[in-house]
Symmetry: C2
Subunit: 279 residues, 2 copies
């Protein structure tokens, strides 16, 4: 019996060592499994906001985008803080092609959902090296099918964009905060409203929208770098692949400190606080 007992013990030890040995290498070869488990926690962690305040302006500036988007702009400054908000209506199928911001960080608030955002993990910090094959290289973008009231953060340097995948016009609030590395633009907002004023089409009457010309569409792309933006003119120019499973590192991007400062400033402005200037 004693002999069998020793055999048994040595067998169990050998079995355990062998399993540990193989499991170690399996672990090394399987980062995908780890990623998959992170994804579900990312999905369950959708960030929402019940409401997003906008500054109450008398005559907000309205601009028509290249695919019929209606943007209603407001810009606020409070000390060093500068940001621009666009309260927008996005027609079915519309939305910007993949692009990169260098001087702003952006949030998208989607009160009704239905907008499919996409964003890269890879960052492109050089304005002169956009994500093309012959420059910074194309990348994978990850889609996020937004839920009602979802707030999504998309900082500078990432390739991003969105499209309205529903058959109806959908609302979207864009928020761009000036990045600390931005050169000085007149509105202290990282140049984003200046960009739309330069390339967009002014709307005088919402009931009579102006025509969108090819010239205007072209300017959205060609003049973008002047405002710290790389703007592609076809979907696959910056994008080599698209995945609908964003890694948690991307889905969990946030900048709650920045967002809180913005919401505080808007609420203060709407309550008559003279430390905030909005226009």
């Amino acid at each position: 019996m004693k002999k069998y007992c020793k055999w048994l013990v040595s067998s169990i030890i050998a079995f355990t060592v062998a399993i540990a040995f193989v499991m170690f290498f399996v672990q090394l070869e399987k980062p995908l499994t780890i990623e998959a488990s992170e994804i579900s926690s990312a999905i369950s962690g959708v960030r929402t906001l019940d409401n997003f305040p906008t500054p109450k302006l008398q005559n907000p500036e309205r601009i028509l985008g290249p695919a019929g988007e209606i943007f209603e702009f407001s810009t606020c400054n409070r000390g060093d803080l500068g940001f621009t908000i666009a309260n927008a209506q996005i027609p079915s199928g519309a939305g910007p092609l993949p692009h990169i911001h260098h001087y702003t960080n952006e949030w998208f608030w989607t009160p009704q959902g239905d907008l499919e955002l996409f964003q890269s993990v890879k960052e492109y910090p050089n304005l002169n090296q956009p994500a093309t094959d012959d420059q910074g290289g194309r990348t994978t973008v990850y889609t996020i099918a937004t839920k009602p009231n979802q707030i999504t953060y998309s900082p500078k340097y990432h390739v991003h964009g969105f499209v309205n995948t529903s058959s109806e016009t959908r609302p979207l609030i864009f928020v761009w905060i000036q990045d600390e590395t931005s050169p000085k633009y007149p509105f202290n907002d990282g140049g984003i409203r200046e960009y739309f004023e330069d390339v967009g089409i002014p709307i005088k009457d919402l009931k009579q929208l102006p025509p969108i010309t090819d010239e205007a569409r072209g300017k959205f792309v060609t003049l973008a770098p002047k405002y710290g933006i790389n703007q592609s003119n076809y979907f696959l120019k910056y994008v080599s692949s698209v995945s609908d499973q964003p890694p948690s590192a991307l889905a969990n991007l946030s900048n709650d400190q920045g967002l809180t400062k913005i919401i505080d400033a808007i609420n203060a402005y709407n309550q008559g606080d003279k430390s905030v200037r909005c226009f």
Copy 2:
């Protein structure tokens, strides 16, 4: 010594059984590894053609596409065989958004490469159920960065399209063969030339290209079903993800019998064979 020997033998047996046990489950969980080995064989199997003959016509019909593509058409009939060829020039960044043919099967011959084709594995056999979220469902398309002289087959029912990813205009020869299920169209070509004649802009003088209007661009989408085509109007309408690793089943699609019939008919026509009619 005998005792140690028995321990050793039993240890080796237990170790081996444990490794076999774990490896079995590792194998079960890793279909991706198997797929990766298939991909490389698909990539090495790029099909090329040194030349693609086109029918010698006196005044080929020329039509301007929605993104400035110049199409020079020829259609041939020989018995039951009906096909249309477009000898085309594709500007940088141009190419059709994802679409589905129901009455034609198509080849792309890329004499200089530089065109990025994309195609789905999933098939959509119902013209009234395109690949949208609320109909047939969106799908994955796989990109193929074409090499010079590559010939790629893309049959009916698959979502497909392409874009010129280079910074220069690139040549492309499209070949569409009438599918046996096609209803009767005037040119016996599955309705494809009839489609371009209906929605495209006639070119009278290559030195003075006509302007492309939004109306014309819209017709490429809205009139497509009349000619057995589902045409999307933004990249992600039919597409949920994009992969640059086509499975071999897709990369190896071919119809050499159909292609041979077409090339034989063109050569016969160019040699004066009256059994072939081209126009």
